[in-house]
């Protein structure tokens, strides 16, 4: 009698690879896709910078594009401006930001705007470390916005969980930020994005061409469109949709603020700002700091006193490190749109004031920054 031998199946497919074959598959995937594809893409992709360029608001989380733009801006302009929405120009058109006003007043294309909305200093440290290698041997104009120190929440020294601007630029494990609470998987995917350009490219494609959606979700929502036709190698990262606002802080109904301010020696943002300075200097950049001005008219007496002390401490700190800086004087009340952003007239005054500063003029004129 034939006894039927029971067969134990390995699997329901033939994808059974030996150790060597797995290594080959891994090498093809890693070298071919993870390294070669982003490298080729980066070579083929072009970005065009308009006059008075600033990175479009929609691209603020696309660090791949920031990297490309940093390359271009560094090539085109002798001075690179870094900062948050104050430098970016939250309430003004492209031609009314500080760099744009300076260019107009100097009659040359001297200043390039690489600021990004919401770019606090803990995030900026990550931005420059992982995506800002193009900024070396340059003149860098760095804005310090004291607004990030107005409370432990903004300073990121709070313990409570909260939404933070640019979470993908924060330190994921060390130093630990107690207010940043994300699962391990998310933190690991951030590390992958920083270290494997393929992930950065995927994020770039999602943000630029696919409405910041996962590819599979986009395909379901656009069943009749081919994703390949959406992709282009020519990217226009310039802001086109921002116009001057004339609404002052009083018109917006902003009430008095009693901010407590975080002392410098306890501030995470200040520590990160110093790390940014150190990083920029280590890359052989000549850094000039503009210490910004908060709208003093919205502060209570108590808060204003603490703020003035803080500004004095900031200046002392910069002096100690031999960093050239300019302390921005307060603007007239009608030049502020809110607690920290000027209106167009405010920006013009800042540019004019800067050009009256011998330190700044000396800084602008020395070398060509290229």
């Amino acid at each position: 009698m034939n006894k039927k031998k029971k067969v134990r199946h390995f699997s329901s497919n033939a994808i059974r690879l030996s150790g060597r074959e797995l290594l080959i598959a891994g090498a093809i995937t890693f070298l071919g896709l993870m390294i070669a594809v982003p490298w080729l893409w980066q070579k083929k992709e072009t970005v065009t910078l308009d006059k008075d360029f600033r990175l479009a608001y929609n691209y603020r989380d696309d660090y791949w594009t920031f990297k490309k733009c940093a390359d271009e801006v560094c090539r085109k302009y002798p001075v690179v401006f870094l900062g948050d929405s104050v430098i970016w120009g939250m309430y003004v058109d492209n031609n009314h930001t500080i760099p744009a006003w300076l260019n107009q007043k100097l009659g040359t294309e001297a200043a390039g705007n690489l600021a990004i909305d919401g770019m606090h200093y803990v995030a900026m440290e990550g931005l420059l470390k992982y995506y800002g290698s193009a900024i070396h041997n340059k003149k860098v104009f760095l804005y310090f916005n004291p607004l990030w120190l107005n409370s432990s929440k903004f300073d990121l020294s709070d313990n409570a969980a909260m939404d933070i601007h640019h979470p993908r630029l924060l330190p994921q494990f060390s130093p630990a930020l107690k207010c940043y609470r994300e699962p391990l998987s998310k933190r690991m995917s951030v590390l992958m994005e920083r270290n494997l350009p393929f992930y950065s490219l995927l994020n770039h494609l999602r943000l630029t061409f696919f409405d910041n959606e996962d590819f599979n979700r986009w395909i379901i929502e656009h069943p009749e469109e081919s994703p390949l036709t959406k992709i282009s190698f020519s990217v226009d990262p310039c802001e086109h949709n921002h116009n001057d606002s004339s609404m002052t802080w009083k018109m917006s109904g902003i009430t008095a603020q009693d901010w407590n301010w975080v002392p410098l020696d306890e501030s995470k943002q200040w520590a990160a700002f110093n790390n940014v300075l150190e990083l920029l200097k280590s890359r052989n950049n000549q850094v000039f700091v503009l210490v910004g001005s908060i709208n003093p008219f919205i502060l209570t007496k108590n808060s204003l006193d603490k703020y003035n002390q803080l500004r004095a401490d900031i200046c002392a700190g910069l002096k100690k490190e031999n960093t050239p800086f300019f302390l921005l004087p307060e603007l007239p009340s009608g030049s502020y749109a809110d607690a920290s952003h000027p209106l167009s007239c405010g920006y013009e005054q800042i540019a004019a004031t800067l050009l009256q500063s011998p330190d700044f003029v000396k800084y602008i004129n020395q070398g060509d920054g290229k």
């Binding site: 329901s12 033939a14 690879l17 598959a25 995937t29 896709l33 998987s185 995927l202 395909i219 069943p223």
Partner: protein, 457 residues
Amino acid sequence: MLFHTWEFVIFFSIVMAVYIALKKTKWWQLWLLLVSYFFYGWWNPLFLILIIYSTFVDYLAGLKLGDSKWKKSWLAFSLVNNLFMLGFFKYAGFFADNLRTLFVLLHIPLDVPHPNILLPVGISFFTFQSMSYTIDVYLKQVKIEKNFIRFAAFVSLFPQLVAGPIERAKALLPQMRHEPLIRKVDVSDGISLFLVGLFKKAVMADFLSIYAEKIYSDPSIYGSWALLFGTYAFAWQIYFDFSGYTDMARGIGRMMGIRLMLNFNNPYTAVDLGDFWRRWHISLSSWFKDYVYIPLGGNRGIKYRVYWNLILTMVISGFWHGAAWTFIIWGGLNALGRVATMEVEKSWWYKKIPVLVKQLLVFHFICLTWVFFRAASVADALLILKRFFSGTGGDAEIPVILFSLVGMVWLYQLTFNSKLKPALEYRIVRIGCLVGAMLLYLIFSSTANKQFIYFQF
């Protein structure tokens, strides 16, 4: 803890490092038990009380089945205990809701509140695995396990704890009695299995789930084409989801020197419904066959008795999947389909039908039953079926790329089951398939990790 997360990568790296270090000592089983409990407790540490209790009862029952005069009583104790646990945690809500409806219909002024009981993940799987041990001991098909640590590790083995395959004691316990043998080929086989499972889950199942969810979340707004393709999407989603999980589980087991059974064998290439159930969730189908269908009489007796055994087994199987009428109807429909086609399959003319046509017929019948499995309510399922047959048409909004991917996998499976199978075994084809799968994984894996469907059972 899902297999395709960084948490699991870290967990498994630590587990393997210590496991390899301990495998020549007597401590490896204890380590396996501890890490399995850690894995299970990750969802909710309270669940551990239940699994430890269940393990202890069946361990005790197993010992008593060896030397007690009251063997039947101990078996009954084990079965009642397991079924009570399952009934309480999984079905109490269902029974309470139906009792309330019944009281309303009979105008009895009694309110039965819905018991908000948390369903422990994987309870259906580990109770069935544990129960199979006591039954097999009673039937003298398996040796009594006197080592509690080993028995507990068998019940809670983490790769297959929460969604199977439901392993039998006679297959798994002997593997745990000796030092695990981990050869190079086990590691490469394990990685191959894991990567294919990862592709099935993170690329295919999660992609299909978006379309199926879109259609099934509000079927009333869609025409027949969208509902049909939504059902196709779900049919493949549940296959990729569940078989992807078990592939990963088998891969992890293989890397640890533990062989777990094949649970899915390309079920959508089945040529008849019997064939389908020999390919779909094989570990559960064989469990029901051995412990329900055969004890009921199996194929013995008159034709109608066999049909009755089949219907009862499949309805219970449907109820095992979920505490809702939709699952019972799903089981019933499969049973009716099986009964109705048993004779047809034996006929001379059925044998003349081309294989591909048979495969498509089976697939479409199974899709019909999936409507009840996936729909939120019986009313939704009936609406979908009505639309299918009314031919309301409408825009299906078919994602061509998605269904092209499904089509490619289906073609692969058809080739694998055909005379062309050797073509898939060339090195370049195997490597190419894996690289392609990894590329799709890198592109399509969602930014959010989704749960496996079968965890809810």
